[in-house]
Symmetry: C2
Subunit: 386 residues, 2 copies
């Protein structure tokens, strides 16, 4: 195996700090080893700091972020429950789909892709009906839009609903305050602003959510049963399933790096990187899709200029320079590029590189030449022999 060395500027996974990559190779511990439980405890502490919460039920699942979506919904929803979802992008629609598969009565409150969902619309949808969950996506990776969360906890609770928030591309890159904002259930992934490898999902449940989970009458998915997982992590360590030990080493190290940097400093780094990115993109005639007020800092969506072929540009970036950015999903396919600046990938040199590489590729396309200046070479490979 000699995987190429990419520069990952898609909306995740990101490049991973060498110190995080290194701990992945540590010897595997058993899942009931006291040393491993001390690692889990460290992760719990690090996650609480990152989510800005005191919630005891805060842990990492052996699954992707999509697994966390399913875990959060599955543990509280029962067939027939009403769920209001703010939908203005691919991942919010996924939340709605998962809730429907779980038997929920889903009400979608929509907005055009590229705008946040209107709080007034959400209030009207909650209306007088008994609603179990209000679900919102804080950062919509598919559109590059930030959904404001002010007063959303209050709104949900006034209507007797739990507030569920997806912070997959925002946690540790943009301010996320689970306790101060009254979020009942919050999840994220390991591979975005946390910058650990993909494969772990981060979940925190507050008191209201725990009460709803315990009050349910119908069975929950065994694999995603958060009560059993909490017992394994924080109770008598009763076996539930064998977690992906090595990824927990990496997550612990990634959380340590976040603490070392400081959450406020990290958020500022992400903000400055996007400012520079937008400046340099403007210089080569590329415009952001989203209005300044609604822009997601960590994933920037850029309109593809008229006459430019999405796929051939991205292929050239990948093949000639080893740079990964992503195209649009769903209705935005072929119309936008998505550039992620998250975690370890969020570096000034990457901003300089992606913009100058885009400039070079777009120039070549205008001139009708297809090859990079130094085209005979394969993409840069990892220097270490594997």
């Amino acid at each position: 195996l000699r995987p190429v060395q990419r520069i990952l500027m898609a909306p995740g996974p990101t490049d991973v700090d060498p110190s995080v990559l290194r701990v992945l190779s540590a010897p595997v511990l058993g899942h009931t080893d006291p040393e491993f439980f001390s690692i889990l405890a460290d992760i719990g502490t690090g996650l609480r700091q990152t989510f800005q919460t005191q919630n005891p039920l805060t842990l990492a699942l052996t699954s992707s972020g999509t697994g966390a979506m399913e875990a959060c919904l599955a543990n509280v929803i029962e067939p027939g429950d009403r769920v209001v979802v703010g939908v203005a992008g691919y991942f919010a629609e996924r939340l709605a789909l998962i809730a429907e598969r779980l038997g929920a009565n889903v009400v979608r409150v929509t907005a055009p892709w590229g705008s946040p969902v209107d709080p007034g619309d959400l209030r009207r949808a909650l209306g007088d009906a008994s609603t179990k969950v209000l679900a919102l996506v804080h950062g919509e990776t598919s559109t590059g839009v930030l959904q404001p969360l002010q007063d959303m906890g209050k709104l949900a609770h006034e209507h007797g609903a739990l507030l569920l928030v997806d912070t997959v591309p925002t946690l540790a890159g943009i301010d996320v305050q689970v306790d101060a904002w009254d979020i009942d259930m919050c999840y994220s992934g390991s591979q975005k602003c946390i910058s650990a490898p993909p494969g772990l999902a981060l979940v925190t449940f507050g008191d209201r959510a725990v009460a709803a989970m315990k009050a349910r009458r119908t069975p929950v998915s065994f694999y995603f049963d958060l009560q059993m997982l909490e017992r394994y992590w924080y109770g008598d360590h009763m076996y539930h399933h064998t977690p992906s030990i090595s990824l927990y080493y990496a997550l612990r190290e990634a959380l340590r790096l976040i603490k070392e940097e400081g959450i406020a400093e990290r958020i500022e780094r992400h903000r400055m990187a996007q400012t520079l990115l937008l400046d340099l993109l403007a210089e080569i005639g590329l415009e952001p899709m989203v209005e300044p007020d609604s822009r997601l800092v960590t994933v920037t969506t850029v309109r593809i200029p008229e006459g430019v072929d999405d796929l051939s540009v991205r292929r050239a970036l990948l093949q000639d320079y080893g740079i990964e950015i992503t195209g649009g999903l769903g209705e935005l396919k072929g119309r936008i590029w998505r550039i992620g600046l998250m975690g370890y990938s969020c570096q000034e040199r990457n901003v300089l590189l992606v913009t100058s590489a885009l400039k070079a590729v777009l120039s070549r396309q205008r001139l009708g030449t297809r090859e990079a200046a130094i085209s005979a070479k394969p993409p840069a490979r990892a220097s270490q022999a594997l």
Copy 2:
């Protein structure tokens, strides 16, 4: 992070070959990178060789083996379906529980823990009722019993049922022939005889199972939706979720090592290791729990002698020698030890070590001394600085 260097002789996870540990630290690729799809294709080929099947739908999930249990059952079972489970241990009971949570009408065919389930009892339970799935555990990790699978495919199909087989502790350590034995759905984990790190679940579905999956009318778990996963792996690579990239590197390398060794040679290595283990255990007065005919080669269950304290012996093995073995689950708690000899952990030197360490610890306990001869030292730590 400086995790201790254990010698893992519990029934999983196992120690991991250094070449597999090393690839874990390779740079992360994106989940839509052509290089990553070529790794997935290699894994598919390696899994088919290991499962001894031609099934196109053969892949690895980002979850533990318990996730694979749930995935297999969830994709074919609909509420009210009849499922017959052969239950003579903890993991078979888990299969039954998961099926029940999915709304199945579960019929347990039991046998005493320590014996296989009787084929005649299974035939009688299938009877004339319409049954969707006959589920069996090939190697019951909790008891150390091998369930014979001869004619089980035929039996299931005569009754119109699909045969589901758990091969978590057997695949790549004991003969498993998915096609020749007419198994419709089969799963395993990455961390047993495959000897990759934990966190991936291995699944293969034959034609009958695929047909049943496609014919279902009720929704399936989004995360475990095998049709979406198959499309991501082998179809147009439509995004489903972000897999744990690094673990797939490791699985690919572990499967390469299996091919290099040869399946037959690997099976023989596991057989010889248990023979030596039982000989050396007998020399120190430790007797196997299971009759020779039913013994699982890869996990050996040993009766704890009268008057010996389970926990203090295992704690001494772990603290003084860094050796992990496991105690009994459920009704066997405190009554047996379980010693795994799987994959990279299945080495003659480990057999010599665990038996001589057990001898030393048991002697100390008889003499009423608690300390190891060289007790001041901490357990051996990994030599590499992490």
